[in-house]
C-alpha cells in the first residue's frame, strides 16, 4: 500500500521551522490519499526555496529556471497529457519573474496544478520584497519601504477567469492537503496560493499573524459565482479567506488541441517517410 514513506526524498535544506515543511507534508499526504505513485507525477519547479521541494520528495522532476516553471509544465503537458504535472514556485518566482507566463497559463487553462509558496518575501536572496510583500515594508534594499501595491494573486486569477483559484495556509496542513487534492481533481489550470511564513526574513507575516486572520470559506459559499469570487478575493487584512475562491468549467487546453485528442503526443512518435514523400510532391 502506498504510504507517505514512498514519497520520502532527500533531507531538506530549509531553515528549521520553515513554512515549506508543512507544505511538503500536505503534498505527500495528498498524493498518498489520491493513490498516485511517484512515477506518475512530474513536478516542475523554478528557483527559490519552494522550488527545491521536488528534491525532498519522490517524483519525476524538472527543476528549471527562475520564473519559467509554467512554460516547461505547458510543454510537458502538451507532449504527455496523461502525466499529472504540478508546478511548484515561490511568490517571487511565479508572480514576479514569471508573471507573463502565469497570465497565459490561466488564459490557456492548461491542466497544470500550480502550488505557490507565498511567503511574501524573497528568502533565498535574503529578504528583499516580493510582489506580495505589503506596501510600506522596509527592506535592506528598499529603505523607504515597498512603494508598489501588493499583488493580489486571487483577484488576478478571478479577473483572468482562471479555472481554479484557491488559497490555503501552511499552518493548516489538513486544509492545505484538501485543497491540493481538489486542485489535482479539477480539470484545468489550478492556482493554489499557499500562505507560508518565512521564519527567517519575514517578521511581519508570522504563523500567529496568519492564524489570527485566516478563516475558511463558509460551506454555502459558491465558488462558481465569479462576481462574488472577485469581491471575496479582495478581502485581505484583518480577515483572509482560505478555500476555493473561484472555479469554472472551462475545458482544459489539452482537450481543445485536436492533435492530441486520440492519444498523447508522446505515443505518436512514429515517422512515416512515405508521407514526407507525398508532402514533397506539393512543392512540384
Amino acid at each position: 500500500m502506498l504510504t507517505s514513506e514512498d514519497y520520502r526524498g532527500q533531507v531538506p535544506a530549509w531553515c528549521p521551522g520553515c513554512g515549506n515543511f508543512p507544505i511538503l507534508k500536505a503534498f505527500k499526504d495528498a498524493m498518498v490519499e489520491l493513490g498516485i505513485e511517484p512515477h506518475q507525477v512530474t513536478m516542475v519547479s523554478g528557483i527559490g526555496q519552494a522550488s527545491k521541494l521536488p528534491h525532498y520528495t519522490k517524483c519525476n522532476a524538472f527543476n528549471g529556471l527562475h520564473g519559467r516553471t509554467l512554460p516547461v509544465a505547458t510543454g510537458l503537458r502538451l507532449a504527455n497529457h496523461e502525466m499529472l504535472t504540478i508546478a511548484v514556485a515561490g511568490d517571487g518566482d511565479c508572480y514576479g519573474e514569471g508573471g507573463n507566463h502565469l497570465l497565459h497559463a490561466m488564459r490557456r487553462n492548461i491542466n497544470v496544478k500550480l502550488f505557490v509558496h507565498d511567503n511574501q518575501i524573497y528568502g533565498l536572496t535574503k529578504g528583499q520584497a516580493s510582489p506580495t510583500t505589503g506596501e510600506g515594508t522596509v527592506t535592506k534594499n528598499m529603505p523607504f519601504g515597498v512603494l508598489s501595491e501588493q499583488l493580489n494573486p486571487l483577484a488576478l486569477a478571478v479577473a483572468l477567469d482562471c479555472g481554479f483559484a484557491a488559497r490555503s495556509f501552511a499552518g493548516d496542513v489538513t486544509h492545505l492537503k484538501g485543497i491540493m487534492k481538489e486542485a489535482v481533481r479539477h480539470k484545468g489550470f489550478a492556482l493554489v496560493d499557499i500562505l507560508q511564513p518565512c521564519v527567517t526574513f519575514n517578521k511581519t507575516n508570522t504563523y500567529d499573524w496568519y492564524k489570527q486572520r485566516v478563516y475558511p470559506l463558509e460551506p454555502e459559499y459558491d465558488p462558481e459565482n465569479r462576481a462574488a469570487a472577485f469581491t471575496r478575493a479582495l478581502e485581505w487584512g484583518d480577515r483572509i479567506p482560505i478555500g476555493v475562491l473561484y472555479r469554472n468549467r472551462r475545458l482544459p487546453y489539452e482537450d481543445r488541441v485536436p492533435v492530441i485528442a486520440g492519444r498523447p503526443l508522446l505515443r505518436q512518435n512514429d515517422v512515416d517517410l512515405s508521407r514526407i514523400a507525398t508532402t514533397i510532391k506539393e512543392f512540384f
Binding site: 532527500q10 505513485e37 511517484p38 512515477h39 506518475q40 512530474t42 516542475v44 528557483i47 527545491k52 521536488p54 528534491h55 519522490k58 517524483c59 519525476n60 522532476a61 524538472f62 527543476n63 528549471g64 529556471l65 519559467r68 509554467l70 512554460p71 516547461v72 509544465a73 505547458t74 510543454g75 510537458l76 503537458r77 502538451l78 507532449a79 504527455n80 496523461e82 502525466m83 507573463n100 507566463h101 497570465l103 497565459h104 488541441v257 485536436p258 492533435v259 492530441i260 503526443l265 508522446l266 505518436q268 512518435n269 512514429d270 515517422v271 517517410l273 508521407r275 514526407i276 514523400a277 508532402t279 514533397i280 512543392f283 512540384f284
Partner: protein, 575 residues
C-alpha cells in the same frame, strides 16, 4: 537562356502572388528557378519586389540585370528602370499608374480593364499580369491554367474560368502588343522541378525528423517555419504552440522534450536574445532541442525584413556557462532539409542544443531541384521507453558514462524517476554543492561529449578548381551566389570555393584538409554578410588560419551575381 523578372509594387498589391505563380510555372515547365524577395516592415504600401530568375541551366542567385519588370506602381519604374537589360521591357498599366511611358522599352497592358472585361472582377488584374509575362515570353499557358484551377478550385468553377479568361487575355494582349520583344525561351526537356524556399525546407526537415512539438513567438524571418508546420499539425501529429514570448517558447520546447518528444523552436536574433537563458537550461539539463535561428540585421530591431549573417558569434557564445552545442548553417533549401535532420539526430544522441543558423535571404529564397533524397534521413530513437526502460534494474538520469552521454528516460514509462535540475546536480539529478561532483559533471556534460560531436561534423564543400590559386570561402546562405561567382571567374582564373555548412564544433581537417588548400592559394577571400568578419574570426580562433582578403556586406541586401563577382574582381586586380 537566362531571364530575370522583377515584380515591383507596394505591399498588399499582390507582388508575391504573381511572383510565386510565375516561379511555379517555370519550375513545372522543367526550368531551373531562383527567386528572392525584398520587402519592407509594413503591411501596406512601401516598395517591395519579388525577383525570379529562370534558365535551362542551374541558377542559384539573383542578378542585377533584369529582362522584364512588372511595375505595379510608379516607384518600381523609378527605382528599377536602370536595371533593365538592353532588350528588356517594363510592363505596366498606365491607367492604374496614371502615367504613360512612350519609350520602346515600355509595354502598357491594361491589367485592370482586361480583368474587368474578361474576368469580371478587378481582383484578377494580377492574373492578367501573370498571363502577360508568359505572353511576352511566348510561353504556352497550359501550366498556368492548370495552376489557376488548383488554386481556385475551392472557390468554384466560375472563379476558375474567370481567372483562366483573365490569364489568356493578358497573354494575348502582351503577345500582340510586345512588338520587337525578343525573349526566346528554349523548350525544356526536363521533368517538372520541385520549388521550395528555405523556411519551408527547414519545416519539412523537422517533419521528416519526427519533430512533434514546435513552440515559437512570431518573428521575421522564422515565422514561415511555424506557419508551414501549423498547416501540417493534424496530418503529422505535431503540436505548434504560439508562446507568449520567446522565453516561454524555448522552455515549452524543453518541457516537451523532457516529456519524451522531439521538440524545436525558431526565432530571430531579438527573440533568441530572450531564449539564451533557456538555452543554458538545455545545456545544464542535457535536454535535446533544435533551434532555428533566422538572422536579420541588428542590433535591436535593425532591419526587420532584411538579411544579414550577424549572429554567428552570438550563437557560438550564447547562454551563460559552458556547455556543448552544434551549429549548422545550410546554404540551400536542400542543405537545410538535411541539416535539420542531422541537427535532430545529434541533439538527441548527445542531449545538446543544435542550431539551424539561417537568414532572411535563405528563408525567403526559392530554389528548384529534382526533389529531396529521403534515403539518408535518419530517425534514431535515442530515448529509453516502455519495456526497455522498465527492465533496467536502476536508473540515474545523469549517470556518469564513458561517452558522457547518460540514458534519456521517458518520465512515466517506468517506475524509475527521471529527475533533472538547472542547479549543478548529481547522477540522480539532485542538487549538489560539492567540488568533486561538479568536476565530474563538467567532464561528462562538456569535455567528453565535445570531441565526439566534432567527429560527426562534415567538412566544408569544395566547388571549382581543385588546384586553385584563388579560394573563396563562406558559410550559410551565400552558397548560391558564391557558386555563380566561381563559375564567372573560372573563365579567367583557377578559382574554387569552400562552403561551410556545419560550423560548430568546427570541422576538423581529418577527412578533407581544407586548410592545405587555403594555405596553398595565392589569395583567399572570405565572403560574409556582416561588418566584422565573424566567420573569419572563428576560422582564426579554431585553426590559426587568416584569410588574405575579405568581402563584407552589411546593407541588409543579398549579394547579386554581378555584385559579388565585381567585388571579387576588384580583389583579383590587385594580385
Amino acid at each position: 537562356m537566362d531571364y530575370s523578372i522583377k515584380i515591383g509594387g507596394e505591399a498588399g498589391q499582390g507582388i508575391q502572388t504573381i511572383g510565386e505563380t510565375l516561379a511555379r510555372v517555370f519550375a513545372r515547365s522543367g526550368y531551373h528557378v531562383f527567386s528572392h524577395q525584398d520587402y519592407e516592415s509594413r503591411i501596406r504600401g512601401g516598395h517591395n519586389f519579388y525577383q525570379i530568375r529562370f534558365s535551362d541551366r542551374p541558377v542559384t542567385a539573383s542578378k542585377d540585370r533584369i529582362d522584364i519588370l512588372v511595375a505595379l506602381d510608379r516607384e518600381s519604374i523609378g527605382l528599377h528602370e536602370h536595371e533593365l537589360a538592353p532588350s528588356g521591357r517594363i510592363i505596366y498599366d498606365s491607367s492604374a499608374l496614371k502615367q504613360k511611358h512612350d519609350k520602346p522599352s515600355f509595354l502598357d497592358v491594361p491589367f485592370t480593364d482586361l480583368a474587368l472585361k474578361h474576368g469580371g472582377d478587378r481582383i484578377m488584374a494580377n492574373t492578367v499580369a501573370t498571363g502577360a509575362v508568359l505572353g511576352m515570353l511566348g510561353m504556352d499557358l497550359s501550366i498556368l491554367l492548370a495552376l489557376l484551377e488548383e488554386t481556385f478550385r475551392k472557390k468554384g468553377d466560375k472563379v476558375v474560368s474567370a481567372n483562366r479568361e483573365a490569364a489568356m487575355a493578358g497573354r494575348d494582349f502582351a503577345a500582340k502588343g510586345c512588338t520587337g520583344c525578343s525573349f526566346p525561351v528554349n523548350a525544356s526537356t526536363e521533368q517538372p522541378k520541385m520549388l521550395i524556399a528555405g523556411a519551408e525546407a527547414i519545416a519539412l526537415g523537422s517533419l521528416a525528423s519526427g519533430c512533434r512539438f514546435y513552440a515559437a513567438y512570431p518573428m521575421t524571418p522564422s515565422t514561415g517555419i511555424m506557419n508551414y508546420l501549423a498547416g501540417k499539425e493534424k496530418e503529422y501529429g505535431i503540436v505548434v504552440e504560439q508562446a507568449e514570448d520567446e522565453i516561454a517558447a524555448i522552455n515549452m520546447a524543453l518541457g516537451a522534450s523532457f516529456a519524451g518528444v522531439r521538440a524545436m523552436t525558431g526565432t530571430s536574433g531579438g527573440g533568441f536574445a530572450l531564449m539564451t537563458e533557456g538555452l543554458a537550461l538545455a545545456g545544464m539539463t542535457e535536454t535535446p532541442i533544435v533551434i532555428g535561428l533566422g538572422q536579420r540585421p541588428g542590433p535591436a530591431t535593425g532591419f526587420p525584413t532584411r538579411t544579414e549573417q550577424g549572429e554567428l558569434q552570438f550563437v557560438l557564445s550564447a547562454g551563460h556557462g559552458e556547455f556543448p552545442r552544434v551549429v549548422f548553417a545550410p546554404g540551400t533549401p536542400r542543405q537545410a532539409f538535411h541539416a535539420v535532420n542531422k541537427a535532430f539526430e545529434l541533439a538527441e544522441k548527445y542531449q545538446v542544443p543544435a542550431f539551424i543558423l539561417f537568414d532572411t535571404y535563405l528563408a525567403d529564397s526559392q530554389w528548384t531541384c529534382k526533389g529531396f533524397d529521403l534515403s539518408g534521413i535518419k530517425n534514431t530513437d535515442y530515448r529509453l521507453r516502455g519495456e526497455a526502460f522498465q527492465k533496467l534494474p536502476g536508473y540515474k538520469r545523469h549517470a556518469f558514462t564513458e561517452s558522457g552521454v547518460s540514458p534519456l528516460g521517458v518520465p512515466g514509462d517506468a517506475r524509475h524517476l527521471v529527475i533533472t535540475d538547472s542547479d549543478e546536480h548529481d547522477e540522480d539529478g539532485h542538487i549538489v554543492e560539492d567540488a568533486a561532483t561538479r568536476v565530474k559533471m563538467v567532464e561528462k556534460r562538456l569535455l567528453k561529449k565535445l570531441p565526439l560531436i566534432k567527429q560527426e561534423i562534415s567538412p566544408p564543400s569544395l566547388y571549382g578548381d581543385h588546384d586553385a590559386d584563388i579560394m573563396i570561402a563562406g558559410w550559410g546562405s551565400t552558397y548560391g551566389v558564391m557558386r555563380e561567382a566561381v563559375d564567372e571567374l573560372s573563365k579567367s582564373y583557377a578559382v574554387a570555393m569552400l562552403h561551410f555548412s556545419e560550423l560548430f564544433p568546427f570541422p576538423s581537417t581529418g577527412q578533407f584538409d581544407y586548410l592545405a588548400l587555403l594555405e596553398k592559394a595565392a589569395l583567399s577571400i572570405c565572403v560574409e554578410h556582416n561588418a566584422t568578419g565573424q566567420f573569419a574570426r572563428l576560422m582564426r580562433a579554431e585553426t590559426g588560419y587568416e584569410f588574405t582578403s575579405h568581402i563584407r556586406k552589411y546593407d541588409g541586401r543579398p549579394f547579386t551575381v554581378e555584385g559579388l563577382t565585381g567585388e571579387l574582381n576588384a580583389h583579383l586586380r590587385r594580385l
